[in-house]
């Protein structure tokens, strides 16, 4: 009979226990030195479905919208009353005509859109045209069924605008690209990038305070006057429906 001699090498489970203990120790060191960031990030993911913001945010944003709507209505009424007192132009009561864009040329020099409403529908030459975002241009000519709108980006376009923050008037001219230039005939204007541009309250061509754009950049190399580039809020390349405003002059 052969005697099999067992050579003792230490139990494997004892080794595993030591390894697990070592890993746990390293983990503790990691947690300590990372200041618990691992736990915090882990908690971020597991708690995400239970955050309170999702529903609450909607409620708050609806309330804010309502509040702004009421405020805007009040301001509109005030504005109307004051303009009547000063005998300035205002929008007529029938106000707007909705029209679809049936032709669009927003590149090259001919920057125009053609709308599916013309003189038959009461569109008049010179009426301002607005789209989602703000002012797009003015009606240049009308046919019986269509009207052509010259866009603010067209080199033909020149409109008076107003910077509300500094309360200064300027002339916005199209430059055959997507960013019209706004010219101030003085150098002492404190214009900053991001300033809001709207139609001038003193304009005889446009109703007051229609959003136009925001200042994109200020030109450094102008001489006697200050020129800035304007990023328009209304995007004619993406708009299919517009509103033609009826002016009471």
């Amino acid at each position: 009979m052969i005697n099999i001699r067992r050579i003792y090498n230490g139990r494997w489970r004892h080794k595993k226990k030591k390894a697990i203990f070592l890993i746990f120790l390293l983990f503790l060191v990691f947690v300590r030195f990372s200041k618990g960031s691992f736990y915090k990030d882990f908690y971020y993911y597991i708690s995400k479905p239970f955050w309170p913001g999702q529903f609450q945010r909607e409620v708050i944003s609806t309330s804010l919208d309502q509040e702004l709507l009421i405020k805007s209505k009040q301001l509109e009424n005030d504005n109307k009353r004051l303009r009547e007192l000063l005998s300035l132009h205002r929008l007529s009561d029938s106000q707007t005509i909705s029209a679809a864009v049936i032709s669009r040329k927003n590149g090259s020099w001919w920057r125009q859109i053609i709308l599916n409403k013309g003189s038959k529908h009461g569109v008049e030459v010179g009426s301002p045209v607005i789209g989602p975002g703000g002012l797009l241009g003015r009606v240049k000519n009308t046919s019986f069924l269509t009207s052509s709108v010259i866009l603010l980006t067209s080199p033909e376009s020149k409109v008076g605008v107003w910077i509300d923050r500094v309360q200064k008037h300027g002339l916005m001219v199209g430059t055959a690209n997507d960013y019209p230039k706004l010219i101030f005939y003085t150098k002492d204007v404190d214009i900053k990038v991001g300033d809001f541009v709207s139609s001038s309250p003193a304009s005889t061509l446009l109703p007051p305070n229609i959003p136009v754009g925001i200042i994109k950049s200020v030109d450094a190399n102008s001489n006697a006057n200050k020129t800035v580039n304007v990023l328009l809020l209304g995007k004619p390349q993406a708009i299919d429906w517009v509103q033609i405003l009826k002016m009471k002059i």
Binding site: G107, S108, Q112, P155, D178, T227, Q237
Partner: protein, 168 residues
């Protein structure tokens, strides 16, 4: 009816140029700029019917295109008339490759001429108001238009040339 269509194909296609000009398909443009569509029609037509006819048709095209585009005091007529005369002096080459290349090159130069004429009108009209800032966007417009016109001309002009030749 077929005979009538075949015989008057050039006139019927002429009517569709302003439609194409108004349609302005954005997917065919670069940076919103389109090829100069009237030249694709004017080149083969003038090559077949000669310089004088090219001049007259260039003038008619200019009048129609000016009336459908808001251009104020600016006009496309001089550029198109000049192109009409110039295109009428070319004859058809037997070498197909050379012919296609020529269509592209001639249309590109024609587009450059028309674009430059239009641009100079802006500069002259608004000179006292110093429209220096119009310069770079306009150069960009001209170059993009020249590129697109030159690119599409070999395909469109060769097709139209064949159609006009058969209907003559």
């Amino acid at each position: 009816m077929d005979q009538f269509l075949k015989k008057n194909l050039s006139i019927i296609s002429f009517i569709f140029i302003p439609i194409l000009f108004l349609w302005h398909p954005n997917w065919l443009g670069i940076m919103g700029i389109q090829p100069y569509w009237p030249l694709f029609w004017l080149l083969p037509w003038s090559m077949i019917y000669g310089s004088i006819n090219g001049l007259i048709v260039g003038f008619c095209l200019g009048i129609i295109l000016d009336s459908i585009s808001i251009g104020g005091g600016f006009t496309q007529i001089p550029g198109l008339m000049l192109c009409g005369i110039w295109f009428g002096r070319f004859s058809k080459s037997d070498n197909v490759f050379l012919l296609h290349f020529r269509y592209g090159l001639i249309c590109a130069i024609g587009s450059f001429l028309c674009g430059s004429f239009y641009f100079f009108q802006f500069l002259i009209q608004d000179f006292p108001y110093n429209k220096f800032f119009l310069f770079f966007p306009s150069v960009k417009n001209v170059l993009a238009q020249v590129f697109l016109t030159g690119l599409l001309a070999p395909f469109l002009c060769s097709q139209l040339f064949g159609l006009f030749k058969r209907s003559k």
